[in-house]
Structure formats: C-alpha cells, structure tokens
C-alpha cells in the first residue's frame, strides 16, 4: 500500500481523482435538484468531438476540449432561453452531433486507436502535474462560486422562475453554472472518462439528498461521498489494474446503495416508532 505513494504518477492520479470528484460532487447537488442530469453527459460527449478534432489535427487536446465544452455551455444557455426548445432536446442533439463528428474525425485519422479508450474510461497514466494544477484551480473556482452565490444557487435550484421574480439574477447563475459544468467535465475526462463522468455529476447529489435537511448539509454529504469514491476508486483501479473511471463509478454506486439501505431502514424504524 505504502509503495503506491512512491510513484509520482500515482500521486498525481490520486490527487486528480479527488479533485475531480470533489468539483463534480459540488455541482451534482444542483444538477440533481434542478433535474438536469442530462447536462453532464451532454458536455462530456460534446467534448469528445473536440478531443477527436484535436487528435486529427495534432492540436492541444486539453485546450480544444475546454473550448468545445464552453461553446457547448454557451449554446445550451442561448438556445434554451427561447422557451420553444427544451433544454434536454438541445443537449440530446448537440451530444450526438458532436459525438458523430468525433467519430468521423477519428476515422479520417489513419491508423488511430491508442488513446481512445483512455478518453472513454479514464487512464491513470495520462494524468500529469499540469492536470493536477488545472483541477485544483477548477475546484477552487467552483468552491468559491458555491460560497459566493450560495443563496442565489439555492433559489435558482428551488424554483428559478420564482427566484427571478424576487430579483435573483437567475440568468447569470444559469450561464455561469452551465460553463462551470462543462469545464468540470472536460478537465475530469482523463481520470474518469467521457462515458462515466455523468455518474460523478449525479450520484453524490443523490446520496446527499437522501439524508440532508438543508442544501448546505446536502453539499457536505455529497462532497464527502464523492471524495471518498474518488480516493478509493483510484486505489482499487491500481491494485486490480483496471481503468480508474469504472472503478470510481462502482465505488460511488456502492456508497449510494448502502446509503439507500440505511435510509430505508431508518424510515422503517421511524414508522415503527411513531406509527
């Protein structure tokens, strides 16, 4: 176990996993409460198009995927502001469009396959110190966002139309939120993978919601669960030699199952006690 920490790559991977899980968990609360579970998936799949484009033209993958994700966030914001088009429809269309472009780009690149599964499911060996720095910065930004806009985010998630009537700048919050989700998704891709990042953007929030009486409690519970899964997921991945993404997701889902059971038993006990 100790020798695990003597490899630089492993330390980076552990840090990256914890940071990515932490950021995603923070956002998961609002995603779950606002019922926009689809958004993470949209951003991740859209980023795939960007990644493939970067691979095709030998561009910087990180840079291009962040740009794609931000463009994705901005498009969703503007298209869904028109009430006629449902946000989920827009995401569904962009998601498959960008995924399709991604596949076309990779087909155009002769003899290419190696890194693809790394992007789909995450890869411990892909993470470097730069990624850790970026993920730290992202985590810091999200934490500040949640602290600074605590009440606005709460009302936005609770009932954004009503919040707007009471003067909460919901458009601003919505805009920042969409961009931030997109950024978290693309910066987490190396460690968790495109296919599985959705799990981190949903499950911690669901776990938190099972127990929380207030939103801040929910944020606390979800981020603890997320960080826990991020840490143990990566260690398990290392020992049984599988990609980190699936391992983190399975750990997280196990936490959910246990929480669900505890909550179920608690509810039963409550009914027994109080009739």
């Amino acid at each position: 176990m100790i020798e695990l920490f003597s490899y630089d790559f492993m330390i980076y991977a552990i840090l990256a996993s914890i940071l990515a899980s932490f950021s995603a968990s923070l956002l998961s609360n609002y995603i779950v409460l606002k019922k926009m579970e689809f958004i993470g998936e949209g951003a991740a799949h859209t980023a795939f198009g960007g990644i493939a484009l970067a691979i095709l033209f030998d561009l910087n993958v990180d840079f291009i995927s962040i740009i794609t994700a931000i463009l994705f966030g901005i498009s969703i914001y503007f298209i869904s502001k028109k009430e006629k088009v449902n946000e989920n429809s827009v995401i569904g269309m962009l998601l498959s469009f960008s995924m399709a472009l991604g596949v076309i780009f990779l087909y155009l690149k002769p003899g290419y396959t190696p890194e693809l599964s790394s992007y789909l499911f995450g890869d411990i060996l892909m993470v470097n110190i730069e990624d850790v720095k970026i993920l730290s910065l992202v985590a810091l930004i999200i934490l500040s966002f949640i602290i600074l806009f605590n009440k606005e985010l709460k009302y936005y998630a609770y009932n954004s139309k009503m919040a707007k009537n009471f003067g909460v700048p919901t458009n601003l919050i919505n805009f920042i939120f969409l961009i931030i989700v997109s950024i978290v998704v693309v910066t987490s891709v190396k460690i968790i993978g495109i296919i599985l990042v959705t799990s981190l953007l949903i499950t911690p929030g669901v776990i938190g919601k099972l127990f929380a009486k207030s939103l801040n409690q929910m944020i606390l519970i979800s981020s603890i669960s997320g960080v826990f899964a991020g840490f143990f997921g990566i260690i398990i991945a290392y020992f049984i030699n599988i990609p980190p993404g699936p391992s983190i997701v399975v750990t997280l889902f196990s936490i959910f199952l246990i929480s669900y059971l505890i909550n179920y038993i608690r509810a039963k006990a409550f009914v027994k006690k109080h009739g």
Binding site: L33, K35, K151, N159, K161, M162, A163, G167, P169
Partner: protein
Amino acid sequence: MREKMISVKDLNYKVEDNDILKFINFDIYKNDFVGIIGPNGAGKSTLIKILIGEIENYSGEIEINGKIGYVPQKDEFDKSFPIRAFEVVLMGMYKDVGLFKKYKKKHYNKVKSTMKMLGIDYLYNRNVGKLSGGEYQRLSLARALVSDPDILILDEPEAGVDSKAQIKIYNILEELSKKGMTIILVSHDISMVVKKANTVMCLNKTLHCHKNAVDMTAEDLKKIYSEELELLVHINKPLKVVSKND
C-alpha cells in the same frame, strides 16, 4: 384624490397570433381591494404576470407605483428539496440583500414576525416539502409580505385550501387592506370576492366590467360566464344584498 398605484393603458398581449389579452385599461388606487374574476383561460394569471414583470413582450403602457408582493397561482417545486420554510420566506427579501451579502438578523426577525402574524410560526424550521397545501399557501403569502409591499397581488390563494384556511387567508387580506395595503385578488370564489373586495374586474380576454363590488349584477357575470349562467345567477342572488360591512 387618492394616489394612483397601478395604471394600465391599452394593454394587448398575443402569443403567436392568439389574443390573450385585448385592449385592457384600468387604474388601481391606493388602498383599493380589487377582485379579478373570470373563467379558466380568461387571462387572469397572464395579466398578473405582466404586472409583476414576468412577461415583458406585451404592448401598451403600464405604470406601477410601489413595491409589489406576489403570491403565485401554483409554485411548482420538488417536494424532496432540502429547503426549510424560513429559507423560502427569506427569498421575499432577496432584493434588500442582493449578491454577495448574507441575510442579517433583522431579516430573520422579519420572517419570524410575518410567519407569526399568519399563524405559521410553528413551521419555521420545517422542510417545505412536508407542508400541506394550505400551509404552503400561507408560506407563499408570508414570502410576499416580508418585503413590506405597497401592493399585494394574489393569484387564486384559495386553490387547494380547505374552507377554514380560506377564511383565514381572506381575514388576513381584510386586515392588510384596513392597514392601507392595495390588494389585487384573483379568485374563482365569486361570492367571497364580491364580499371582501371593494372593486371587481370581470376579465375574459378583455375587461367586461370594472365596478364597485356592491354594484355587481347577474348581468355582469353573464358577460363572462355565459354558459354557466344558471349556476351563477343562483350564487348571485344573495350577493346583491350583501354589503361590504357585514
């Protein structure tokens, strides 16, 4: 002359090519207690959403003189949302606080006293999803009142509320009206509106009547509820003899 609180001139509102509201004109003065009645789909909620600024793409001129408190027709939210009653009421004072600042002691005190006035202080810490329809409706009223509005607008506050709670809400409105608040009440409870309000507007796309509650006749109701007239005439009979003060 009394202070003019709301003035609406030549208000028209269309969605696609459908007229939702047509050529609406009225003034509301300080301390008016206005009841708005009309069948389903008459445009009552739409008119109110225009007054509170939720709908902006109308044509016409609207002047509002004072702070509005708003109790929506229905407030859709997730019953399992982890938010407590006082937090929802605090939302009513968001504008006083704004970005990057926290609610202060005086805001919390205001929430407490308002909830107490409405008889729901025992709900203060309760999760909102656990409230009954009537309790939530009063919470909604508390949220509208904490900002000390000059004008209170309520969209069917009696919907889904039992008659005891309804009477409670109407009594509170009467109290507030006595204290000088301007009240606009949308309701399907015509007899209650005619009893409590001092002016009534009959709306069905356009204003079919706008007069003192005591002058309301079956004819006025006939204009907006042609098909259900039978029933309404029946309701209307005792109305004419009801005066504002009993």
